[in-house]
Symmetry: C2
Subunit: 338 residues, 2 copies
C-alpha cells in the first residue's frame, strides 16, 4: 500500500478535506461522532497527518532509520555504531531510536519515523508482530530485521546470529584442554529468544562432545543471590569450566571467583557470549563467543541498500551469521589434566 493521503481519509469518512485537517489540528466545530469517525479512519488507513510524509518514497533523502532495543547494552551499541559507520561511508545519514524493550515505545518511534524523510529502516524488532511493524511493512518501505526476527514475518529480509559454530568451537577447545564437565549459565528470566537458543545449542553440542554427564546447566537472574547460587551449584557439580550466555553474568561471576580466592583460567575456565570491551580489559582477558556484530551490521546495511536501490521487489533473504569462539587467558588446562 502506498501512503494514505488526506484525500483518502476524507473520501472514506465522507467528509471534506478541510474537515479532516481541522479535526486533526483540533480546530473547527464538529460533532463528536464526526471527530470519532475521522480519527478512526486515520487509524485504519495509517494516514500520517502531514502531507509531507508522502514525500518519503518520492524523494531520496539518503537517510535511514535504525531501531534498537537499548543502546546501554554494549552489544546493541556496537551493532548500531557498525551500521552507522557503514551507512555514513555509503553517503547515508542515520536516525536512531530505541524501543527500551517495549512494544509501545517501538511503535511510537516507528510512527515518528514514518513522518520523517527516510529511504528505509533497519529494525531489531521487539516481541511478536505489532501494529508499528505492520505499518512499516504496509507502507512498502525498504525494511530489514537484524539480530531478531518476528514469527510469521519471513517476507522481511533478516540477518541474525547463529550460536552453534561458536559454542561448538568453545566446547571442543575445553574438551581438548581436559575439561570433562562444563557449566552453562542461562538467564531465562530475560525472555530473550536469542539467549534461550544458546542453551538449546549448548545442550546439544555438549551432549555430543562430552557425553551425557558433560553438561551442567544452571540458571540465574540479575540478583547477586541467584548468581552466587548458580556458581555454587556449578562447583558442587565439579564443573571445571563455565560458559555464560549473558555477559553481565560473566562479569559478576568473575567477581565472585575473585572473592573466593579462585583464579580464573586456573581453578575455573570462563567463556562468555558477547565481545564487550570490559572482557579485553580484565586480567586475565575473558574468552568470548563473538556474535560478529560488525559483520551482522555490514550485511544488514548491504541488504537494505540493495532494496532501496532495487527497481522491483526482491525475494526476502534470511541470513545467519556464524558466531566465532575467541580463545583468551580465561581458558586454561583443566585442573585434573595438569
Amino acid at each position: 500500500m502506498a501512503f494514505a493521503t488526506i484525500r483518502d481519509v476524507a473520501q472514506k469518512a465522507g467528509v471534506s478535506i478541510t474537515a479532516v485537517s481541522q479535526i486533526l489540528h483540533g480546530k473547527g466545530r464538529f460533532s463528536d461522532e464526526t471527530k470519532a469517525l475521522v480519527r478512526k479512519t486515520v487509524d485504519e488507513l495509517g494516514y500520517v497527518p502531514d502531507s509531507r510524509a508522502q514525500g518519503i518514497r518520492l524523494s531520496e533523502s539518503r537517510t535511514v532509520g535504525l531501531l534498537v532495543p537499548d543502546i546501554r547494552n554494549p552489544f546493541f551499541a556496537d551493532l548500531v555504531s557498525s551500521m552507522e559507520e557503514q551507512l555514513y561511508e555509503k553517503g547515508y545519514s542515520t536516525l536512531i531510536g530505541t524501543s527500551a524493550e517495549d512494544v509501545q515505545r517501538q511503535d511510537a518511534f516507528i510512527t515518528t519515523l514514518l513522518g520523517q524523510r527516510i529511504d528505509g529502516a533497519i529494525v531489531v524488532p521487539e516481541g511478536a508482530d505489532s501494529p508499528g511493524i505492520r505499518s512499516l511493512i504496509d507502507r512498502d518501505l525498504p525494511l530489514v530485521f537484524v539480530d531478531r526476527t518476528v514469527e510469521g514475518l519471513d517476507t522481511v529480509p533478516s540477518v541474525v546470529s547463529d550460536p552453534y559454530p561458536g559454542i561448538e568451537s568453545a566446547v571442543d577447545t575445553l574438551r581438548q584442554l581436559g575439561h570433562r564437565r562444563v557449566g552453562f549459565v542461562a538467564h531465562s528470566s530475560l525472555g530473550s529468544v536469542n539467549v534461550n537458543e544458546r542453551e538449546t545449542a549448548f545442550r546439544a553440542i555438549a551432549g555430543e562432545l562430552l557425553g551425557e554427564d558433560g553438561a551442567v546447566v544452571v540458571d540465574c537472574d540479575n540478583s547477586s543471590r541467584s548468581r552466587k547460587d548458580a556458581l555454587m551449584a556449578l562447583l558442587a557439580e565439579d564443573a571445571t569450566a563455565m560458559l555464560c550466555a549473558y555477559s553481565p553474568d560473566a562479569i559478576a561471576l568473575i567477581g565472585l571467583l575473585h572473592d573466593r580466592g579462585m583464579d580464573v583460567g586456573e581453578d575455573l575456565s570462563v567463556v562468555s557470549f558477547d565481545d564487550i570491551d570490559a572482557f579485553r580489559l580484565m586480567s586475565p582477558q575473558v574468552a568470548i563467543i563473538s556474535q560478529q556484530t560488525a559483520d551482522m551490521g555490514r550485511q544488514g546495511v548491504e541488504m537494505l541498500l540493495a532494496r532501496i536501490g532495487a527497481k522491483r521487489k526482491r525475494r526476502a533473504e534470511n541470513r545467519r551469521i556464524p558466531t566465532v569462539f575467541v580463545q583468551r587467558g580465561s581458558v586454561g588446562v583443566a585442573p585434573q589434566a595438569r
Copy 2:
C-alpha cells in the same frame, strides 16, 4: 533567521525558482557559472533543498534531535537513554545521531536533522565552533548543549558537569582513611576538555587537603604499556590510592593489580570517574565519582522543552551539575594506618 526558501535562493542568485530546483536535482541545461552561483547561494543562505524543511518551525512535530559523540561510551549511552526516557514521558520522540568525535560527521548529521521535522535539538558538541553548529543557531531552532559547551557560543543554554564537588569528597574520604599520597591517572591524549578539567581540579583539591606532596599525577593512553608504566610510577611514589579520570583506565589498571597479586581496597584504594555497570559488578565494587547523567539529561530536556514552549526568546542559562562521590569496597583504610 527563519528558514531560507527556494524563492530566497532564486532571488539572490537572479535566476528562476525552476532553475534552482533543476540545478539542485541535477536536471536541465545550465552553464557551469550558473550552477556554481546557485550552489554558492544555497550554501550562503543555508537553504535545505526541500520545501518541506520549512515546516519544521511551523508545525509541532513533537520530535527532538539528539546528537552525541559515541554511544559505545557507556557515559553517553546512559545520558542518551536518560534524555530519551524524559522526552518520551513528555510525549516527544527522539531521533539520535552520533558524531564519532568527528566534526564533519557531526555537521553531516546536523544537515540531515535540519531536513527533518523536529522541534529542537540537544547536542554534545564536537570540538570548537563549526558550520553545522552555526547553522543550528542561525535557523533559530531551540537548542541546548549538554556535557560540553563551545567556546564563544554562550548564547546557547547548556548543562555541564562540575568535577570539583565529587573530587573534593573523594580526596577528603581518602584523607580520613589515612591516605597521605593519592595518585591521579590522567589521559591527556584524549584531548577532552572535561577529562583535563578533572586534573586541574584534583591538583587544586589534593594540594589543599593533603599538602604539597599529597598529589601524584601520572598520565597514560590506551596502550597497556603506558598503563603499566603509570601504575608502576604511582607505586614507586608510594601512592596508596588512585583516582582515574577515564573509566577504561580504571578497568585496565585493576586488571594489572590482580596480575601483581595486589588487593584492590587493601593494597591500593581505587576511585574512578563515571558510573558504569562494570564497576558495580566487579569485586570489590569500584568507588566512583558520578557525573549524575540522569540529572544532567533531565535538566537538558527541561531547558529544551522550556525553549520549545516559549513565546519569546529566553536568556541562555548555563548550568553546572555537581559530581557526587560514591564510596564502595575499592576504597579502604590506608596500609600504614591499619
